[in-house]
Symmetry: C2
Subunit: 339 residues, 2 copies
Amino acid sequence: MEDYLQNASHKRFNILTEEWVLVSPHRTKRPWQGQEEELSTSKRPSYDPNCYLCAGNKRANGEVNPNYEDVFIFKNDFAALTHGKENYKTDHKLIKAETETGICKVVCFSPDHSKSLAQMSIREIEKVINAWQREYKNLGKKDSINYVQIFENKGEVMGCSNPHPHGQIWSQSSLPNEVLKKDRSQFNYFSEESSSLLEDYLKQEIKLKKRIIFENEAFVVLIPFWAIWPYETMIIPKAHQTDICKIPVAETVLFAEAISVITKVYDKLFNCSFPYSSGIHQSPTDKANNEHWHWHMSFYPPLLRSATVKKFMVGYEMFASPQRDITAEAAAESLRYLL
Amino acid sequence: MEDYLQNASHKRFNILTEEWVLVSPHRTKRPWQGQEEELSTSKRPSYDPNCYLCAGNKRANGEVNPNYEDVFIFKNDFAALTHGKENYKTDHKLIKAETETGICKVVCFSPDHSKSLAQMSIREIEKVINAWQREYKNLGKKDSINYVQIFENKGEVMGCSNPHPHGQIWSQSSLPNEVLKKDRSQFNYFSEESSSLLEDYLKQEIKLKKRIIFENEAFVVLIPFWAIWPYETMIIPKAHQTDICKIPVAETVLFAEAISVITKVYDKLFNCSFPYSSGIHQSPTDKANNEHWHWHMSFYPPLLRSATVKKFMVGYEMFASPQRDITAEAAAESLRYLL
Ligand SMILES: O=P(O)(O)O[C@H]1O[C@H](CO)[C@@H](O)[C@H](O)[C@H]1O
Ligand SMILES: O=P(O)(O)O[C@H]1O[C@H](CO)[C@@H](O)[C@H](O)[C@H]1O
């Protein structure tokens, strides 16, 4: 088996989204003459008077940030989701639109403008996790919020317009596409097997050891078998937990450790502040029975060959299916080596 | 209705993929301090001695390109899909992989290095269409090829590493994700309504006129109601045709005209050689009954505000659902104005 998967074009199945990825291991030898990203190497100061996320500074809407000491959260001044009571629906079956309302927030991870999660202490990362838990719980309590998406865009190449360490939370009334897919697959598996899809998957991975980068008592960091992005990883709790509020208090530090380890390894890979989008997929907050959910955090980093050459998800990927060159196993080996 | 859709956050349904897009019309006012693309303004020569696609030049594998006069097609020297008889399948239900074989080709649109489709004559574009038809037919005839994806990545920002006007064809043994989705939706509609999904959709759009950019006797160019990319467009034949080989010979010129019109308008929008990925979705070549397919060509251009500021499909988009700021109606108006 392993030989085949390292040498010939094949497709792999994502058990969570139930979609395929095309893998072309032989294609890494392709020369690259295309676009290269700019590499920002300048060291940032701990405080930037022009940054709208630094403590004490003024934001676009005139509000002044407090002198926060760890995490600071505020409502997005340019929210993509507006909050209201509207209830609109078009009535044509081929031209179909519906109201979508929600609340968008910005989560500053640290007052220190120069840091990213990789440079923060485990204790500091724990405070970010605690903030995510509080937001998930409080937003999720609202009748109008049925799903809470926690995510981070890191680096200019990921559309992040401010290098101050921060993430976002977009919470909304309906379940978005990716969540619907994972809801379905996990529900079906749980109904049939009476165990969580990711718990059973983890058992396999722990046995095979090929794609695991790091583990502690409560968490595994691995490259999923079906990874799309070259160095895509996932943090999965070993125990079946529906959402991040189910992490036993004593284990938050272990989740923080997992985040710290993977972000540090990423920065080492190409010796740069590694760009990525990360996100947590977890149980909807729609008050349905969501026992089948097993929360997880994923990192989707675009870099492929170096700090400046990324993988482009374009023509074939947009019209047919995602495609990758290096295999998940080879990528895991490279990252593990840097631990 | 229209007022609501132009002002409040809502979601729209893609009748082909059966997925939603989040629309936030109020969000265009957001300032942008993030990454800007480099603008290449240098005029290219008609012949570049270092281009591996120009006539008479040597390619990476040592082969020499013929002195072609219009379209030139060759097998991709770094194909993502390899052709063989292997038949491999993992046997674990959570770690699922399968052989995927295929043939990848490169299609040079013109020997003139300086051109793009927008600068080519309608007669020249017709020759490209004829080449696509031949390839679709010949590749599709093979037992091992069940789907033929024709696409183009244009511009550095779309991962294109050579500005010589060219596209690609990746043909393969199984139906990729996006094609499976559109196969299902069109099949269901056709079974229920005995008419093609896109034919009926077109009738609505022709009545409403809000999203149409251009039409001639045989084709409509429009921004679909569910467009994801800011200036995404679709070319749809008015008649129900399963694939591009069904275009009546006398109407190829009208398809060429549609391509010419939209690519010229694109270049005018931000006064630059407009980047995009385009692709044709059409009937699989699996010899099944594919009467429900209605072929169409889509353009996915990334630019949002100017020649250098693109829309980033990142965190929320990757983890939840695509999101757009300007509405399809506003975008259609801007493009129509440039006709
Ligand atoms: O085949 P090319 O032009 O070298 O490569 C480009 O298009 C391919 C198909 O969309 C992508 O997989 C690559 O990431 C992109 O750089
Ligand atoms: O909200 P921001 O950081 O201004 O914007 C960034 O993240 C959003 C959510 O993924 C995207 O919709 C934007 O395209 C991106 O630039």
